[in-house]
């Protein structure tokens, strides 16, 4: 049994960044927790609907537990102490085998702060740490490519469609990126060897992975 913890700044960040991988983890028996630091809404009464959207999306993807902090949106720089404190609580509670979060070079400052704070806590409390690629990152160089199937992509698309309050979500763009982004990094001779159903990619930068001689090598190598 494996514990996966994903910490994001806003609702839908986890689903956009790694919706297929969440579904894959869940379908393979891992326990996935998503923690969202802000509900990202200017109006106080807007938080509840966004939480509900998260819960719906999480349900579709198989998320075990979806939790929230109330860090003020766009003001993470001024609440780093609270973020740090919440992260320690969550990560000690979740005892994750692997932590996922934003990439430190994300252009959105709340994302970057989230990444810095999660990195610091995860490096001393969890074995493995991995950054997902958001759109609009700077300097993101993937070293982990997750190739997903049509079925996982459909699950991701359905999850994203839960966030109806976010009119900006251009789901078709996400699908198109997921269908070609790896071609900018992976040689066509490699792509040709993929199983044909592996049509979609999510890209990650693995920051730390600790492997134990007690376990057998993974399939990938």
């Amino acid at each position: 049994m494996k514990n996966v913890l994903i910490v994001v700044a806003h609702p839908d960040d986890a689903e956009i960044g790694m919706g297929m991988r969440i579904a894959w983890y869940a379908r393979n028996g891992a326990r996935v927790r998503v923690h969202c630091l802000t509900t990202g809404t200017p109006e106080q009464d807007g938080a509840q609907p966004r939480r509900q959207e998260c819960l719906s999306a999480g349900l579709l993807l198989g998320v075990d537990r979806y939790t929230f902090s109330e860090i003020p949106d766009t003001r993470f720089t001024e609440h780093r102490g609270s973020i740090n404190a919440e992260l320690f609580t969550i990560i000690r509670e979740a005892v994750p085998d692997v932590v996922y979060t934003h990439f430190p070079g994300d252009q959105h400052i709340d994302h970057a702060i989230t990444s810095q704070e999660v990195t610091a806590v995860a490096l001393r409390e969890a074995m493995n740490l991995c950054y997902f690629r958001s759109p609009y990152s700077t300097g993101f160089e993937p070293n982990l490519f997750f190739m997903g199937t049509q079925i996982l992509m459909e699950a991701k698309m359905q999850a994203l469609s839960c966030f109806s309050s976010q009119k900006q979500l251009d789901m078709e763009v996400f699908r198109r990126i997921a269908s070609v982004a790896h071609r900018q990094h992976v040689h066509h001779r490699i792509v040709e060897r993929f199983a044909p159903e592996l049509e979609y990619v999510e890209m990650f930068q693995s920051a730390r992975r600790i492997e134990s001689a007690i376990e057998a090598p993974s399939m990938e190598g």
Copy 2:
């Protein structure tokens, strides 16, 4: 069944860099091939003994096949075309799932050239690529820590002892590095969670790893 290919510049580079991991792969059923680009000896008749040392070490670690090119030692910069040609032959022959080689920032120029050439070929012919840490690298930032047992370390030490022609090999130094190097990167709270028999480290930088949704997640996360 997994195919592992390790390409190194000199005899004993593979054993120093990842002897424990080789033994671990072999004991878990992977097929490990080591290819060594030079026998690294100025005298023509010195090559045969060094090859024999490699074969003995490989036998102890469970290497499936140990092969050699005859690139002139310390002159890799002037034989890049031959190196490239040999690598294409080997890698197409081996069809590896994962390729290991020197880190591009290694201070030894033959190591650095090996890394550049292997990287270029591996990125278009193999799914996964990983750099091991040699002593004396510059700018090596590990993102993969392999924690090995006393038994694997003994196998590594025995393999290293096969290289009796290399008087410079200070095996005790290697053992000591392997017992503390991870402490400079991994927080003591993490180290305390390791199974107690995981006393030794080998450090790697994973350059590319492609995971497929068709497989289950690995144990590590």
Copy 3:
């Protein structure tokens, strides 16, 4: 009147990397020269057809002059002196205002060598230097986005279709990348402001640009 020089390793590298921009330059009165360092074919008699393909593609895009060296394919590392000498001749002949070439971090070693050699010559012989993005580059961070129209993309596609000897050319993949790759870097609020006919991107890294107070500022800023 502006002189543009593009130096590439292989036939079709220029067209894949910056076909739209070539057509745009030509249509705006610039004189574009493409120089290709190898015809990239193992058989001696294969060179002529590939040159012919280049000339056809160049004609479609408005290339003023398409020239060739005969550096042995996949062996650039061993012919750097010849490459350097040819580049000095060409660049002094062309007197370019701007030079385009491969990105230094390209995974293909011939591309990387081309980039290193062109960079060294261009920095002392031309005002401006710019790298185009090939597929499969490592560490490419664009700082110049060229947004092209449907018409320019059609010109590019037609140019690419000239390279019939290259069966590997998956033109549809190139088109799809060109239609979404900028979305990984540019925020959707910016994309929404683009003129609607600007549907396709080519990405560059400007290495040096010298602007003169004697000229007026360009439109872009």
Copy 4:
């Protein structure tokens, strides 16, 4: 007509970093707005004189609008939320084609914070983003050199002389740097080709430039 927005931490930062370029923009019909985040004075009644100095300098350079926030000097780290909020207001008001600000690696922490916050906002609200070089930056690698004339340098010197409250301003040093700094980056063969009146440099790092196929190529290439 082009809109240029320059956001700086302190009075005189814009004039020191890019006084010639401001004058050049203004003389070519661009509308230049400078926004200064602090008046950088410990005494409350010191702000007014410094603002007056800015306005005088701006007048000389042709600045269209010079505006101010009241972020406490040397305390930007603790007012990032306010900085962010002000920047959103300003940038949406100004609708700039290009935004200039400090380089992220500036040694002055207020400058670095300004750069981070402006970068985040500009990347989602403006097409183009460019960093000017302050004295004392770390890791600044210019990719844009602006060569100015004696006339523009005189305008800059006059603008700097408006800041009489800043006794530390060694204008002669700035002039000398501006007359040789490019020689550390640009080969003498290139410098010899400059029009003789282009004696002074201001150096920039272009972070993002979006060019449109609808426009003609700029003079520089």
Copy 5:
């Protein structure tokens, strides 16, 4: 006579990072001041014992003056203004020839903030700036190796043993790291030339060193 200032986040950071070097400075007549930004204890009455531990350790190493601020532990991100103000006071009081502090890439956020703030102040108030290596840094590439003797290591061990409130301090690990860490960076041919009593290393990254032609060259070169 030389003035050395060391600024650290927590008690024992200076001793772990550079205890041998402190003792060496003191024994050679330099005046060493250590300033510690927090006493790093959640309980208010825990501060006094930790200060006492510092003073005892400092006494053993020959520290001239050991001073403290009361920045709240784990909350440096929210007190950067106070940190900056204290640093200006201290550094102007100490008039140091060289300042030592944490490395900017330290995984502990309080360490990283300390490094950023000290860097900014030191670069404008002190000639020389140097980062020591803490355990758990990311991206630390040493360019200064200090080789110490058994006697200095004993002084360091004794100093560390003063911090009895810190049960986590695994002194034996520190000693073992200090005895082999340089072997990962320095070739064995160099190590063999060391005077035999130079058994232990402390590693640094020199960020700025200003040498004057008025002085003679140092012994090292």
Copy 6:
């Protein structure tokens, strides 16, 4: 007594990069050897005059020994084996305490190759390694500033005037760079503290410095 070895690609590279420092070393009793890899002249009979120029310049600066290889100019990429072999001979002969050479990011490919080869040999044969700044380097970030006097600058200028065959040498530009380049890196508050006779700078990047506890700390700190 200290041994200094400087390895450069061409005649005058050492004098341009570190003429003041050479004179300072020599005047303080160090033994300075300069080795030049090519005489950098296309005509065979042009070598002798250039060597004579070096010897004259070396005499003025106090160089102990000035030696030469005959690597073909602009063709270092194709003679790396010979360069490597010569370097091993020279460095083992010279037994230097410190080695100086070009910066790896120098734009001139012969300079870059020299730097790579010298780095590899020096890191295994010499304690200390340091890069001087040539004009036209890319990515050079100095961490060592050598402030020289008017007298040392005159010695440097005289040494440079020996290279009369190099009409391109604009000595006045070098002098002006040396009088202001540090102002782009060092805060004016620091500069104001310099002894008034320290008017000129040469900038370096110290790659490795090994200090021994057996020696006293240097004056600088």
